[in-house]
């Protein structure tokens, strides 16, 4: 059972392949940033990146040229401003062209729910009257068979790999996380393979208020990566590094300063 627990480098090498659809999730909290950097270091290419809120970890992956496509609902540096590498890719195809598939948060959340539920689509109220459906093939009208009412369908998201950060795992690979849990459970269950990076590995998971537990058999690999969410945070272990988010604005604004950052990450 403990074969489930490997190093981050091994996990990324094993699970993430060129051309894969990869979702790194975490709604502000518990973002698997270290796993994103490892994907950059292993120089993956042609990825379809999926994420509700592509924040700076996706700005980095996009700037590093790992992504061919982005499926998302809000691409910004939360509380700071724009994602400059994302904008440069969309507006100027730098360093490579970036195809986009754009949804609302409600749409993305429901796409993950459908994926986790083994359904091909989800039904919601949304998109009606907006210009999104005209630019997104993955939105369709659907009629209620009982009332005749028209609603909106969105197709399931089933990434090849889903990656999240969590507070801890036990030695059997059972994973526990608490605080803002976002779409953590859904992305792990919707993905063909999954990786959870954790702050600590313990003998036994102590029950915690608000905690979600994913049984080890529902997770492909666990890697011990203390601080692996930085500059995002892990409630109970760290605080969100808001200064770092603000500093990213200057680093990412310019291709050269970003290039220096990238050189350092690639080591």
């Amino acid at each position: 059972m403990t074969a489930r627990i490997v190093s981050l480098a091994e996990a990324v090498a094993e699970l993430v392949h060129d051309g894969d659809t990869v979702a790194l999730e975490g709604f502000t909290h518990l973002i698997p940033v270290a796993a994103g950097h490892e994907i950059i270091r292993q120089r993956r290419r042609g990825l379809t990146l999926v994420r509700m809120t592509p924040d700076i970890v996706y700005d980095q992956l996009i700037g590093a040229g790992c992504a061919a496509k982005l499926i998302f609902s809000w691409a910004g540096n939360p509380g700071v401003g724009s994602l400059h590498r994302f904008r440069d890719a969309v507006q100027h195809a730098w360093p490579v062209p970036l195809e986009i598939e754009e949804h609302s948060h409600a749409g993305m959340a429901n796409r993950y729910v459908a994926g986790a539920s083994g359904l091909p689509f989800a039904v919601m109220r949304g998109y009606s009257g907006t210009d999104l459906p005209a630019h997104t093939a993955t939105v369709a009208p659907i009629q209620c068979p009982f009332t005749g009412e028209m609603l909106t369908a969105v197709p399931a998201l089933n990434p090849d790999v889903g990656i999240v950060h969590a507070q801890r795992a036990d030695r059997r690979g059972n994973v526990q996380f608490w605080g803002i849990t976002g779409v953590h459970k859904e992305v792990v269950l919707a993905s063909a393979r999954s990786l959870v990076t954790v702050e600590e590995i313990v003998d036994e998971l102590t029950p915690m208020p608000g905690a979600v537990v994913l049984p080890g058999w529902a997770v492909t690999r666990v890697a011990l990566v203390p601080g692996g969410a930085h500059p995002s945070y892990a409630m109970g272990f760290s605080e969100r590094d808001n200064d770092h988010y603000q500093a990213w604005d200057a680093i990412s604004r310019d291709r050269d300063t970003f290039g220096q950052w990238l050189t350092e990450v690639l080591g």
Binding site: F86, Q91, H105, A106, N110, T130, E149, G179, G210, N242
Partner: protein
């Protein structure tokens, strides 16, 4: 005490939140205004953030909608799918606060792209986030945005979130169940949709602002309500509470 135009805007937005309303709060100005309301006249205001925190009571302004202080102080923390499906979609949230990069006379909102070619945009903006469904499903919507001809445009380049569509009856036809934008609060004054044809009309000016300034900052021929009033200036209490939240000093 003296105050800035942004402070006036925030105070006006805070005042628009009443009693024990549930308020869906985005980050930035809406969060500041909602927290100010909770500290002043509306202590029972329930703050709901799309990160899943219901009834958050932050003691400092969060930088993001997912800061730890929101989860630590919330009555309940739910998953993001649950937030949108069980709480927002059925209309349980009374007021939604939205910003805008562009806004038209029917309060339709663009936060997606500037430029009319979606595939080759002049400026790529962050996108929709929770806004389309907040605009659709909250009981009513308050838009908070600085007023300028760059923002207040004759026609938005992209409809990210529907206000009043192309006019009366459009929301019903589209199946949108909330009442839509009822107030647009800017640094110059307050606009409200005309009860007849839904066109945004200037109904209030902040102290020291003229109707001409508001017209000049609007990209369509702005209607002025016959009885346009002047906003009550921020009180010392309001300014003190606001600055203790934001950490700002009194402007020089």
């Amino acid at each position: 005490m003296s105050w800035t135009a942004d402070e006036m805007m925030t105070v006006a937005a805070a005042r628009a939140l009443r009693g024990d309303t549930r308020c869906f709060v985005g980050i930035g100005l809406p969060s500041t205004a909602a927290n100010l309301a909770r500290r002043t006249h509306a202590p029972d205001l329930v703050l709901v953030y799309e990160s899943g925190t219901i009834g958050a009571k932050p003691d400092r302004l969060p930088l993001s909608i997912g800061d730890g202080v929101l989860a630590e102080t919330a009555d309940a923390v739910v998953s993001v799918p649950e937030m949108f499906n069980y709480w927002l979609q059925p209309g349980r949230i009374g007021v939604g606060f939205l910003g805008a990069a562009q806004l038209d006379r029917y309060a339709n909102i663009n936060t997606t792209v500037i430029g009319t070619d979606y595939d080759d945009p002049r400026v790529r903006l962050p996108g929709a986030g929770g806004a389309p469904e907040i605009a659709a499903s909250c009981g009513e919507v308050i838009v908070v945005v600085r007023q300028s001809t760059r923002t207040f445009v004759d026609r938005v380049d992209f409809v990210t979130s529907v206000g009043h569509g192309k006019g009366p009856g459009d929301r019903e036809r589209l199946g949108l169940r909330g009442r839509g934008p009822v107030l647009v609060i800017t640094d110059l004054g307050v606009l409200e949709p005309d009860p007849g044809d839904c066109e945004l009309t200037l109904t209030r000016l902040h102290p020291g602002v003229t109707a001409e300034q508001a017209v000049a900052a609007t990209g369509w021929p702005l209607r002025i309500a016959p009885g346009v009033t002047t906003t009550e200036p921020p009180s010392d209490d309001e300014l003190t509470a606001l600055r203790s939240l934001t950490g700002a000093e009194e402007p020089a």
